[in-house]
């Protein structure tokens, strides 16, 4: 009896231990064995099983028998992904992941070999992360190795849009062909290739995203889009465009991508970073695969970075049918009136209109301007551009803007002066040459005499003055006039006149004392006649700058040129306004009566 009792206790304890261990879920691998819509061995069943396995990171592999490629066409939407899972189509026999963008401007790549196509014709997105409860944690999931086609949902072939309470962060999407056939050579469009919203830390890399309406739409924090082909075939050498290659906003960084062959290459809004991409060129950088519209369309109201000061941050934006970079503020209609505002953009260190070496070459210029900044109204509301910086003084910061069909940089307003405002477009040192018209064009300059007319126009010294009705839209910042020059060795002496723009003193929050001075930047031209306008050349090499505090007549300044100069070369000069940073918010940081803040600071300095 006693032994029987002991054995019974031991057995019961062992049974309880086994039950306890098996009750706690273990990470599992589910294998897709067929292309069926449902049932055992189907992709649908595998996703359902992983969702049921809450709290563990499962894997879905593929081992569909027979010769591929294999096509799965779900009859309805697949289950949303609510739990961490790696869904790996590259586990299908004969599939492999290559490297689509080994480095920027490389001669060749290794395309993927994919064996699983998922046709989203009947689906509201294909792989969709849409969990919306505390238990829906799909963090660290991976989608790789698929050819995803034909979905018409805004949710995308891959869509991340977790609801309140759900989480889908730190995701990885790589080794996919999205919007093409399985060879990556013809289009099989999705409405949206990848849609990202309400996720952080997600990385989209090594994908071919082409042939779609929207390649990638990403509005989410700390998301990285890198080393993708967007708008080309799988070799990166031919066109297979999206309507919009990338729509970026709210903390997205995109680098080392080929974004070519689309209608619009990249559309940017707030807090986005665009670095080290080829936009309008093939993978090797040797030929143009034009985005037929603009290379980059910037509508961001804050913190947009395009390029940087190092070669590893430089974008090459060339060969596009429209502008290289279009900075556009526009109003909106619908219910009520929405104003458009673009501000806080830094454009540095890029090649715009050149080949990857920064030299002009036939066909590499953008079809319109290198950079355009303009405000336009279509609904009678308002549109404003300010605080845009192009170029810089530090090494690597100047852009090379050359070979573009129209202007190097064009700035204008396309609407009534009471509604549109373009000011504070700061052009610091750049290399601007061989553009078809002007190097810098503050448009509507029909007088073209170097002196501001009584009324103000684009790129005005004072945004408040834009509110006055203009009788003549020929406003622009006055530029200096070079009277004479003398070169001796590396010493360059210039004699110049400068008539500073006037600032009205009868405005509520600004006065003439708020101007610190005027920076004069001198450049060496590329040639005697550089562009379409007689007597106007452009600024290829920055020679130096200094600041004066007012108008000058017959003034002289001597430079030590960074490069040797000889007689018969030509120089030109620009002026840039310096505004005082106002330390007293009580009296000098007030908005004007139209709700505009001071144009001369991005933020006022508040005394503690």
């Amino acid at each position: 009896m006693r032994r029987l009792f002991i054995f019974s206790v031991v057995g019961l304890v062992g049974f309880l231990c086994v039950m306890f261990m098996t009750h706690k879920a273990q990470a599992a691998t589910y294998t897709v064995l067929n292309t069926n819509d449902s049932g055992v061995g189907s992709l649908r069943q595998a996703i359902s099983d992983t969702n049921a396995s809450v709290g563990v990171a499962d894997t879905i592999n593929f081992a569909i028998p027979g010769t591929g490629p294999h096509v799965i066409t779900p009859a309805s939407s697949l289950p949303g992904i609510h739990d961490t899972v790696t869904i790996d189509g590259s586990t299908q026999p004969s599939a492999s992941c290559g490297v689509l963008v080994p480095t920027i401007a490389t001669v060749s790549n290794t395309p993927h070999t994919l064996e699983i196509t998922i046709d989203g014709t009947n689906s509201d997105g294909i792989f969709v992360f849409d969990g919306g409860s505390a238990s829906d944690n799909a963090n660290n999931s991976v989608i790789k190795g698929f050819n995803l086609i034909n979905t018409t949902s805004y949710k995308g072939a891959i869509g991340v849009l977790p609801g309140f309470g759900g989480q889908a962060n730190n995701l990885q999407f790589n080794c996919n062909y999205i919007g093409t056939d399985i060879s990556g050579t013809t289009a099989q469009a999705n409405t949206t290739g990848i849609y990202l919203y309400n996720t952080t830390g997600t990385v989209v890399s090594n994908n071919l995203i082409s042939g779609n309406q929207n390649g990638i739409s990403a509005y989410t924090n700390t998301t990285t889009i890198q080393n993708n082909l967007i708008g080309t075939t799988s070799t990166g050498m031919s066109l297979l465009g999206n309507s919009v290659g990338m729509n970026l906003g709210l903390g997205v960084s995109a680098h080392d991508n080929i974004v070519s062959g689309n209608t619009t290459g990249v559309q940017m809004t707030d807090s986005t970073v665009l670095q080290h991409n080829l936009i309008g060129l093939n993978l090797a950088g040797t030929a143009v695969i034009a985005n037929s519209g603009d290379g980059v369309l910037n509508k961001g109201s804050s913190s947009v970075i395009i390029g940087g000061s190092t070669a590893g941050e430089r974008n090459v934006i060339s060969g596009n049918g429209g502008n290289g970079i279009n900075v556009l503020a526009e109003d909106g209609g619908g219910d009520g009136c929405s104003s458009g505002a673009v501000s806080g953009t830094n454009i540095t260190g890029n090649y715009i209109g050149t080949n990857i070496s920064g030299s002009t070459a036939a066909g590499f210029g953008n079809g319109q301007n290198g950079i355009v900044a303009h405000a336009q109204t279509s609904f009678g509301c308002s549109a404003t551009i300010n605080n845009i910086t192009i170029g810089g003084d530090a090494a690597g910061e100047p852009n090379t803007i050359a070979g573009n069909t129209l202007d190097g940089i064009r700035i204008y307003q396309a609407g009534p002066s009471s509604q549109t405002s373009v000011f504070g477009v700061v052009i610091l040192p750049n290399s601007i040459f061989s553009n078809g018209q002007l190097g810098i064009n503050l448009a509507l300059d029909t007088a073209n005499n170097g002196v501001a007319d009584a009324d103000l126009g684009p790129n005005v010294i004072n945004s408040f003055l834009m509110s006055y009705l203009a009788t003549n839209a020929n406003y622009y910042i006055n530029r200096p006039t070079i009277n004479s020059t003398s070169v001796s060795g590396n010493q360059l002496t210039v004699n110049y006149n400068y008539q500073a723009n006037e600032v009205e003193d009868n405005l509520p929050a600004i006065s003439a004392v708020d101007i610190v001075g005027y920076r004069l930047d001198f450049y060496l031209n590329n040639d005697t006649q550089d562009g379409a306008y007689t007597g106007y050349a452009q600024g290829k090499t920055h020679l130096g700058s200094f600041v004066v505090d007012g108008s000058e007549t017959n003034a002289t300044h001597t430079f030590t040129s960074p490069i040797p100069l000889i007689g018969s070369q030509n120089i030109t000069v620009t002026s840039t306004v310096l505004w005082k940073t106002i330390p007293d918010p009580g009296t000098n940081c007030q908005d004007d009566q139209w709700g505009n803040g001071p144009p001369y600071t991005t933020t006022c300095i508040f005394e503690n």
């Binding site: 004479s484 030509n570 620009t574």
Partner: protein, 102 residues
């Protein structure tokens, strides 16, 4: 009238001429506030709008001495003041001499 009276008149006229010249100096030479090159302290300013490129100018091989000095030339003004002073004194002496002769 004695010689001392005439000398005092000459002094008065010279003083008047000098005051007139000083008035012209203050009106002519200081009337225009000359701009100057400055070095703003970083952090106290931000950049605003930039102009277009100016018409180009061809470099001339030579020395900086061939160009006018910084700011407006003031030599002409001083020459003019000097001429005015000399002519004022000359007129004063002529008047005194004429009176002495009378």
């Amino acid at each position: 009238m004695n010689i001392y009276y005439h000398i005092s008149q000459i002094k008065s006229l010279i003083i008047i001429a000098a005051l007139i010249c000083a008035l012209f100096v203050s009106l002519f030479l200081t009337q225009k506030a000359h701009a100057q090159e400055i070095t703003p302290t970083p952090g106290t300013y931000s950049y605003g709008s930039t102009s277009e490129f100016s018409p180009y100018s061809t470099l001339v091989q030579g020395s900086s001495a061939t160009l006018a000095p910084t700011g407006e030339s003031q030599g002409i003004g001083y020459i003019a003041i000097g001429l005015l002073l000399v002519s004022s004194i000359g007129i004063s002496l002529y008047v005194v001499r004429a009176r002495m002769s009378a």
